[in-house]
Structures are given as structure tokens and as C-alpha cells.
Symmetry: C2
Subunit: 496 residues, 2 copies
Amino acid sequence: MASERQLSRRSLLGRTAAVAAGAGALTATAAGTASAATRDVDVAIVGAGLAGLTAARDLVAAGRTVAVLEARDRVGGRVVNLPLAGGGVTEGGGEFIGPTQTRIKALADSLGVDTFATYNTGKNLLYKDGKKTPYATDGLLGSVPPVDVAGLANAAIVQASLDDMAKQVPVDAPWTAAKAQEWDRQTFETWLRANAVVPSAKFLMDVACTSIFSAEPRELSLLFVLFYIAAAGDESTPGTLERLTETANGAQELRFVGGSQLVPVKLAATLGDRVVLNAPVRTITRSGGGYTVTADGVTVTARRVVVAVPPPLAARIVYDPLLPAARDQLTQRLPMASVGKAIAIYDTPFWRADGLNGQVVSDTGVVSSTFDNSPPDASYGALMGFIEADKARELDAASEAEVRAAVLKDYVTYFGEKAASPTSFVLQRWNNERYTRGGPVSIAAPGVLTQYGPALRAPVGGLHWAGTETSVHWMGFMDGAVRSGERVAKEVLAAL
Amino acid sequence: MASERQLSRRSLLGRTAAVAAGAGALTATAAGTASAATRDVDVAIVGAGLAGLTAARDLVAAGRTVAVLEARDRVGGRVVNLPLAGGGVTEGGGEFIGPTQTRIKALADSLGVDTFATYNTGKNLLYKDGKKTPYATDGLLGSVPPVDVAGLANAAIVQASLDDMAKQVPVDAPWTAAKAQEWDRQTFETWLRANAVVPSAKFLMDVACTSIFSAEPRELSLLFVLFYIAAAGDESTPGTLERLTETANGAQELRFVGGSQLVPVKLAATLGDRVVLNAPVRTITRSGGGYTVTADGVTVTARRVVVAVPPPLAARIVYDPLLPAARDQLTQRLPMASVGKAIAIYDTPFWRADGLNGQVVSDTGVVSSTFDNSPPDASYGALMGFIEADKARELDAASEAEVRAAVLKDYVTYFGEKAASPTSFVLQRWNNERYTRGGPVSIAAPGVLTQYGPALRAPVGGLHWAGTETSVHWMGFMDGAVRSGERVAKEVLAAL
């Protein structure tokens, strides 16, 4: 067991993590930078998202000393609670969990964060060709929107094909699949055009694609899509496309009471002042038998380093000695997708009275999928819409007022005039966030996984890689982040 | 005209650019960093490659003050002379120029750097299926390797199709081509599989692809490939695939006497101490009406900033305020390709006596294309081989001795036992270069140009973008770099 040997000068710096356990966002109490603090720990962890915090938890439990360096003034990374004008919070980032997402669930349970069912009573709404069609979520076809019969049949075959192919992809090494080369040399769009030949089936797959990846089918390698489907399960349950897209029995099944960021906030609280906010890491330098990690305002020396930020941001740290080409070029090839979330708050979830569950699939507008994001007691109504892929990019440079107007226009189209006048409106645009620059997750174009996949997790000397992008289950989800933190902690402990 | 107002403390820092005009590499005289120097200029330029230096030249000629901040201890970027043990230099980066590359030619002329014809006398060599077949470069089929007749016919049709499609791509806005969406949703590999249906034709196109891009067809958007072909010409001459691949009348036609780096070295000499070496730029911050550019050891304030480094490296600078999402996400999506150059030096260019010009096209080995890189007087022989795409990546982690052994094995296969014993051997592995991390140029996967293309050159406030990746003619070549420097200087002058 390493001895505690922190040399922090936190009082001088005012960088104490102000842990408001059970409350909303975790914010720094001050941002003084009179002089650089130094710490000496066993493991420096870059990023206080779920991955970094989980790694820290496990390392501390094993008796190791850690420092978690977080660029933002809050913990949680891509998981964030946003305050509402009238009190309470809504969720600007990852919020749903579902079956087989056992590690995020276990973490939340351990911290006393409860879950509740995503509102799913009443009918979904298909908006297509200017027409609204409510449809049941529990029919013979599950919750597949009621397009023409030929389209439904085609979509069913396409879905089954994708699931079948995904079963042939080893989640821990997609590049070793027998057909890895064939699947990694084409875009998902190319494959869809050959297989989703009925227009309405192509429409359904396009909506599924943008909903899952916040990317268009042309941006994605087929192999990457298959891996992502395969990863939507756990050690004993193979992933399926349906588990990615569904609410009941799917990845959108449950939400967290108090908002998803409560999980990282409470987790950070258990770590106390091991978490340093407002500390973007600039350089990681090998020195002696360990590393020196330099962040704004604080320098940490450590025997091992865990980098738990998205790959394109990991690329922006200066490493000395420089990283192997495979790792560097990988981080040049895993861009963040493009996503925003728009949440409109109303006095009541009025769509429920119309027999609707608030879930829309649309072929138009800036928001093509929505959810009822109201709190469990429905003390107010919240409509959450995803702004995804091309639509997110089209609005990147728009003002917040312009986005609001476009989103509310869609909500009125889907749910009627009452949607025009929310009591408040919250917008989270991940593309414009300095420490994410897109979302929800990195994507891979053709050729990336087969050539660079092995560099995703391979440690480089004493540098270890975490973050949801490195997970073999639920990559892209909170669960994958937690799993990556648990895996990297084991990896580091075995090496220390 | 702005007044000269440099506040440099160069003597303190020892950062004077040691300009050895006419000599080999430009190196810093010292690397002291006792305290940060400051400069105040009209325009700060990030990167002293051909783009940045050309921009500086034009801005200075217009009476503006500039500071060119270069991360390396030399100028030239992807253009570098490497010293040979026995004296003289060989070229580790860009070295060839050809017809319609008028701007690099004019620049070299203005600096008194002469050209000479790439050695092209005698026969090319096809090595395929374990068999060597010499073939004439001036036959009916140009220098198309002598594969089976069906393959030649197929390859001719494929080449004509690519050229025809390329003619429909506006070089200044490929995303506006009538078929841009269709071409940008598929990989080049997908298109080749549908069109280069004869195996030997596919082989020829694969070799052309890796030779041109140092990337595999699966990594590239068809639209990007068509743009690159279209860009292989000038204002009055449409680009063609043949101009990219050929030696005579093609992009490999001429070389520079003294080595290609002489051009940036002599250009830097005209700029004197405006060029600061060993100064990697870390942050670009808007302040007042201008910008503060912070590099290691030197801080520059400027009214405008030109960033003239490859997009994935531009992404690693910290911008404050942060860049628009479109620009940031673009830089996440233009990775460097993968390339190395291996140059073996012999007492004589012995292959010439065998009637060979030193140019090989091969279906095996780590080097699948070679050139006779001997000096104009043939006082010694030099065989240069490209290590490209998958083959470069396979060798990224290999030792120099391992690479040397693999390369010389190939050279013996192609040119006989004499190739086994070079008098010296020079290896330049661009993937492992901190300030390039790949090469020769950024590549675009499907979906990038149509969604992010406009952000390639669009200025962001007072920030302007240069580098060969931003050129509408000869993107990826020295000529494109020079053109981008000229364009950006005009852009900045119009704005100042």
C-alpha cells in the first residue's frame, strides 16, 4: 500500500472541490491561481467524468493515492444537470440507463441514487410526410413506427441482419471478426442502400442511426456500427439494435431521481479533495520512473497516469516522450459526433392527456426524436428533444434564440399549440463545449478499427486509457464509462 | 503601412534563426529559455513551412510586420533535407514538382533554386506475383504497368471515369458538385469494387491510391479522391489522375538542385529574425482588437493570426474564445495519412546499367513504389522508396534496423544483390514526427467535405487558415502550400 503523500497547497489555491453531495452541480469555490500547487500520488487521473471517478474510487479502495484533474468547474463530463429557472434540474447530457447496464446501476445503487421508469405510457408519434400517426409501443412489431408494410418487412430484415452480423463481432477486438475487412471498408450508408431498399425502411434506419450515434450513416464504418450494436449488452447477453433504440427493455428505460449528474457528483464526494476542478491538463511528461502531469494551476507527479477523456481531446495533451504513432493517429481518427439537447419546461406534461408518451419519430424539423423528460412526480412537464448529426451542425452557429424558435416550432407540430409557450427552455450544445467539442461519443469512419483498434486500450508505458470509448460493453453510454473506469483501475493495480 | 515594432529579446533567448542560405538544414543556434521574449507585429504566423513562409514573404512585401513561429528547430515542415554520411543531402519529405505547379516553381526561381529532371531513362519495373517485368514508360499506354489486357482495359476505363467525375468537382467548393452527396457517402474502396472489377485493374488502382495518398482506398471518401484529382492542375488546366501518378509530364517530373528544403531555407533567409524556431505555439487568445499567441519561449501580440500547420495539429492549439464547432470538428476529421521514406545510398546508380530507371510498382514488400533519387551528376546512387498506408503503420513500432532490413530486402528483390549493401541508409518516418504525426497530407473520410468543407478556409474573426490542405490547386503538394500562403496573405491584407 502506498502511503498518502499529498503535498497539496489547496488553501492557497482555493481549488478545493466543493462537494455538494445530493445537490445539483459540483462547482469550484474559487479559481485563484496565485501559484501552482503540487501533488505526488500513485496515479494521476485526467478527467472527472464517470470513467475517471470510477477508476479513482477503485484505486483508493485498493489503498492507492490519486489525483483527479478535471478541466471543467464541475465533475461529470458528458453527464450534467442543468438548473431550471423554477427550481429543480434537467439533464443536458447522458441520462438514460437500461437492461444489462449493470455497472452504472451498481454504482448508482451504492451511492443511493434511485432510478425511475422513463415515462412510456400512451402512444408514440410518427411524424412523416406532414402527417401525424400515433402508434402503440407494445404492438406485434414492438415500437416500430407504422410505415408501409413493405417498409416494415424490409426494416425487420435489415434489423435482423445487423444483429446477426453484430453477433460475429468480438466486442473486445472487433478488428478480428472474420469479416472485419469487408465491414470496415464501407460506410453504413453504403450497406443500408444495398439492404434497406424500401424508402420507408431506409427512413427508419436513418432515424435509428442519428438517434443512436448523432451521426449520419455516411460517416460511420459498417464495422463500427456492428461493434456498437454488439456492445449493447453485457458479458452474458449479446447486444442488439433493439436494445439500443427501445425505451421499455432498452437503453432508454430508466432515469435517475435527481438527475443523472447526481451519480458523478456523489461519487466525487467520496473522493473529497482528490478531485481538482478547473485544472485542464496540458502536458504529461515521463520523469524518472513516473510521470509529471501539468494542469493549469496544479502539477501532479505520479507513477501511473489514467487518461479518461474522449480520444480527440486526449490528442490535445502534449505527451513527452511522444505517443506511438498508432495511438496518436487513432486519436486523429475518432471524432466526436454532433449533438445538442433542447428541453422545454411546461406547467404540466400536457401531451399525456392526449394519450401520448412524448416520444416522437420525425422525418422533418431540427428535432427528429423526443422524450418526456418530466420529473417522476410530474410536478411539471418537460419535453426533451435531440438535435443530431447534420441538424446539430446546421445550428452550430445559430443563436440560442434561433435554436429555441426552431425547436419549439417542431414541438408545436408534434404536440400542438400548448408547446409554443414553455415556462423555461434549456439548451445544451455539446459541439460548442470546450471540453467535449461534440457528442455523445467518438465515431469511427471506415478503416479506423481494423488499422488502429488495438491502440484504443493498449497502455503506453505507464499511460492507461479510459473513457466510454474504450469500453467493450455499452461503449458510448454511462455504463461503458463506468466499466472503463473499473477495467483501467484493475489494469493499473496489476502494474503498480 | 504598419511600423516595425518588434520588441524581441532574441539575444537573451538565443532564438535567432540561424539562416544558412544555400546550405542544408536550418537549425537554431541555441535553445535557451531564460525568460519569455515578446513581439508585437501585424500578423503572427504559426508554422514555418512553405505556406507560412510564403505568407510572411507577401505580408512583408506589403509593408506589414510578421513573426513566424516554428515548433521545430528548422524551417520547411514536411519538406526536409537530410544529411548523408558521405556529404550532400537527400530528401525526407516533399521533393518533386511538375507541370501546372507554377507557384512553387516561381518561388524556387525567385530564390535561385534550380530544378533538374527526375531520372526517368530506361524501363520501369513491375513486380507482381513474384515476377519482374520491365516496361517502357513511353509506350502506347504511357507508363501503365503491363498487367493482363482485360486489366489494362478496365483500368483505362476507371481512370477515364475518375477524370470525368473530377471535372465535375469545383476545386474551390467540392461540396457543391451536383453529385457531391452521392460521392461523399461512399469510400473510394466501395467505388473501386464496383468499377475496377478485373483484379489487376484493382491492383493498379490500389497502388495508385497508396502512392498518391499514403492511405488505403477504404479510408478515403470518393468525393475527396475526386477533389484531389481535380486539384492536380491549375487555373486553366483541369487536374487528371495521370498528372498525379506520372513522372514525365507529371507531379514527379522535376527535383530541386540541392534538395527541396533549399526553397524554404532560402525563403526563411529573406525573412531573417522574423522566423522564430523552437517555438511551438500553445495558445491563441483574442485580446483587445487582436490576438496574443503564446509559444514556448516567446509571446507575440498581433492584429491577425495565420495558422499554417496541418489541421490535426491546428486542433492541438488552445483557442480562446473557442473555435466555432464547424472548424473544431473539421480538425477532428482530417487525419494525417501514414508515410515514411527510405533512401539507400550506393556508390553508383547501378540499376541504370541494367536499363532501369529505378521506378518500381510492386504488389509485395514494405516498399511498393520507388524512385531513383540520385543527385543530378549521379556522383552516387540513391534509391528512394515510399513506405505507405498500411505498410507504414505496420512498421511504426519497428526499430530502424528492422525497417532497414525490410526495405533492403525489397530493393534486392527489385534490383538485385548489389542493393543489399548501401553505403548509407536514411529513414524518415513522418508518423513518428511530433510536429506532423503522419503524412504527406490530411485525408477525408466520407461525410467530411460535404458537412465541414466550408470551414477549411473560412476565417474565424482574425484567424486565417493556410497550409497545403487549404489549397484549391495541388492540395497535398509543395505547390499547394505556396498557393495557400499567397491566398492567405491576400486575405489578411484585405482585412487589415
